[in-house]
Each structure stands twice: as structure tokens, then as C-alpha cells.
């Protein structure tokens, strides 16, 4: 197999789950994006990965993965899911913790370079009632592949 996306996802979820930055986050960690996690607040959900060709050489090359991590929280008081409250941490702080985790982790060396284009959108989605807030942290990372036909 050129690239094993499933094991990359597993390792990334492990890194998030074992992060010291998220040690006081009492929610679920899940793969499959928002739709898989939407009924289980609060959540940190690894989105469906996309990848494309990076460098192409004879013996191998690189693939660039675009990763999105979604953070969701619910608060029974409208408009309070973004901030910390007695009901738990808010989306804003969890997103910051996820970003710190990404910046400080080597992801068990699955990526060949430091991750790049880290973007944070803490108000990616807010429901009509204002009780649910979902943030997004996205970045790009590069993996090496070996051309098995050579």
C-alpha cells in the first residue's frame, strides 16, 4: 500500500487522546468528522483526511495530507458553548489546546516535516439556538511513500 491512511488516523487520535494539553478535557475522541460525533458532546473529532501528491520521484515521493480536527461543545445557556463554564471547557479553549498539541507533537514521526498551514476557526459552526458551537483546527502534513513498482 502506498500510504496507510488508517494507521495515520489512529496515531493522530492517540496523540490527541494522550496530550497533556487536553488532560482536563472530559469528552469523546472520535474519527469520521462531525457527523460521527454530533450526538456526543463535548467531542474532539478527527475529520476525513484528504491527500494529494507532493513530490514525485522515481523511487518514491511525498503525499500531502490535509487534516481537519473538529471540536464541539454544548451549553444549555445560549451563546455560552464557546467559553468555559461550570458545564465544562468551551470550544475556544479546547481549540487552543489542540493547536498547542499539534505544534508540540512529532506525531510519532509519521510526518517527515513539521506540520504547516495550521489554521484555527473556533466558530466554524454555531447552531440556531446558540447552544452548540463547533470549532475547526486544520493543518497540512507530509508523509513519505516508497514506489513499490521499483
Amino acid at each position: 500500500m502506498l500510504s496507510d491512511t488508517k494507521s495515520i488516523e489512529d496515531k493522530m487520535l492517540d496523540v490527541l487522546r494522550n496530550s497533556s494539553e487536553l488532560v482536563d478535557f472530559e469528552g469523546v475522541y472520535i474519527k469520521g468528522g462531525i457527523s460521527a460525533a454530533i450526538k456526543q458532546f463535548p467531542f474532539v473529532a478527527l475529520g476525513n483526511m484528504r491527500y494529494r501528491e507532493g513530490v514525485l520521484k522515481d523511487a518514491g515521493g511525498t503525499l500531502i495530507y490535509a487534516v481537519s480536527i473538529y471540536v464541539g461543545a454544548r451549553n444549555m445557556v445560549s451563546g455560552r458553548a464557546f467559553n468555559d463554564s461550570e458545564q465544562g471547557k468551551g470550544v475556544g479553549n479546547i481549540c487552543s489546546a489542540v493547536v498547542r498539541t499539534i505544534k508540540n507533537s512529532d506525531f510519532e514521526k509519521i510526518f517527515i516535516k513539521p506540520v504547516k498551514n495550521i489554521k484555527i476557526d473556533p466558530i466554524y459552526m454555531v447552531d440556531g439556538s446558540g447552544m452548540i458551537c463547533i470549532g475547526e483546527v486544520s493543518f497540512e502534513a507530509e508523509v513519505w511513500y516508497h514506489n513499490e513498482r521499483i
Binding site: 500500500m1 502506498l2 500510504s3 496507510d4 491512511t5 488508517k6 488516523e9 474519527k31 469520521g32 457527523s35 460521527a36 476525513n48 483526511m49 484528504r50 491527500y51 494529494r52 501528491e53 514525485l56 522515481d58 515521493g61 503525499l63 514506489n147 513499490e148 513498482r149
Partner: protein
């Protein structure tokens, strides 16, 4: 008429889109990894193929022609965009996505296996040195409740006429 032939892969283009489509399907069908578990191969959009899961279909091939100079016999660069779609189904969304015990593969592995088959690859000499991988994405089919997942693999390749 010449322009129409160029656009739709007629005689004025080195290789027609349908040739590229058939060749892509041929390469996919020859893959020993995919043959182990893919139930259906097809050409055309997923509507034709999605009744039997897991499936792989060469959904579309489009081309554009870029003449390198002016003249009747001017050399051209033919660019092809190949879209391959594949899908899995399971009543449990996590198995449809990630596979399960007993070697059952989900959409994530199916997409990786299709990519391994088609990239880097010259499609039996059609493209030199290889097609390029533009994007691989995985998503659940809308309104399937997570039971049906689909991957889209977009490749492009060029050849000089």
C-alpha cells in the same frame, strides 16, 4: 467539427477519453489487491455501480488540448483528468468507514488501495512518466446515515501528440 472532436476525444486527439477510461478500468481490474474484495468494477457515475458494494468505478474522464504552436499539424499537449470513485456499505458506519474484523476493508483502505494501483503509474504507457494525484477524499454519502461511504480519487495526466 474539429473542435468538437478535440473536446469529446474524437480522431484529432491522440487518445480518446473513452480509451483512457477503459485503460484505467483495465489497470484497476488487474490489481490483485483490489480483486481480493471488490465486488464490482464499472464505468460511469456511481449510480450505475453502487448497488453492489464494495465497488470501484471510473466515473469520468475529461480532456483539454493545448496546441504548442500555430499550424495545421501543430503539436499539442493533451491533458486528461480522471475521476475514480469507490464505495462501501455496512449497517455499522464505523465498519463501512474503517473496516472490521475478518479482514473486511472500509472506504479508507479501499481508497488507499485504488491510489496504490493507479499512482505512480503510466497506465500501460499512456502517460509518461506517470499520472499525477490531484486529490483523494473520503465522505459519507448524503442521507445514508453513515452506512454508505464514498471516496473520490482525482488524477491527471498529459501526453504530447
Amino acid at each position: 467539427m474539429d473542435l468538437i472532436n478535440c473536446i469529446y476525444g474524437g480522431e484529432n486527439v491522440g487518445i480518446s477519453c473513452t480509451d483512457v477510461q477503459s485503460k484505467t478500468l483495465e489497470v484497476l481490474m488487474k490489481s490483485s489487491i483490489l480483486n481480493g474484495y471488490v465486488s464490482r468494477y464499472d464505468i460511469g457515475e456511481t449510480g450505475a455501480a453502487r448497488k453492489i458494494f464494495p465497488y470501484v468505478t471510473v466515473a469520468e474522464v475529461t480532456s483539454d488540448v493545448a496546441p504548442l504552436c500555430i499550424g495545421k499539424e501543430a503539436p499539442c499537449i493533451n491533458n486528461y483528468r480522471i475521476v475514480v470513485k469507490c464505495g462501501t456499505f455496512h449497517l455499522l458506519p464505523e465498519i463501512a468507514r474503517e473496516g472490521g474484523e475478518g479482514g473486511k476493508k472500509g472506504i479508507v483502505q479501499l481508497a488507499d488501495d485504488v491510489v496504490s494501483t493507479l499512482f505512480p503509474c503510466d497506465l500501460d504507457g499512456l502517460f509518461s512518466p506517470s499520472v499525477h494525484l490531484q486529490q483523494v477524499s473520503v465522505d459519507e454519502r448524503p442521507e445514508s446515515g453513515g452506512k454508505c461511504w464514498e471516496a473520490t480519487i482525482v488524477l491527471y495526466g498529459s501526453c504530447k501528440e
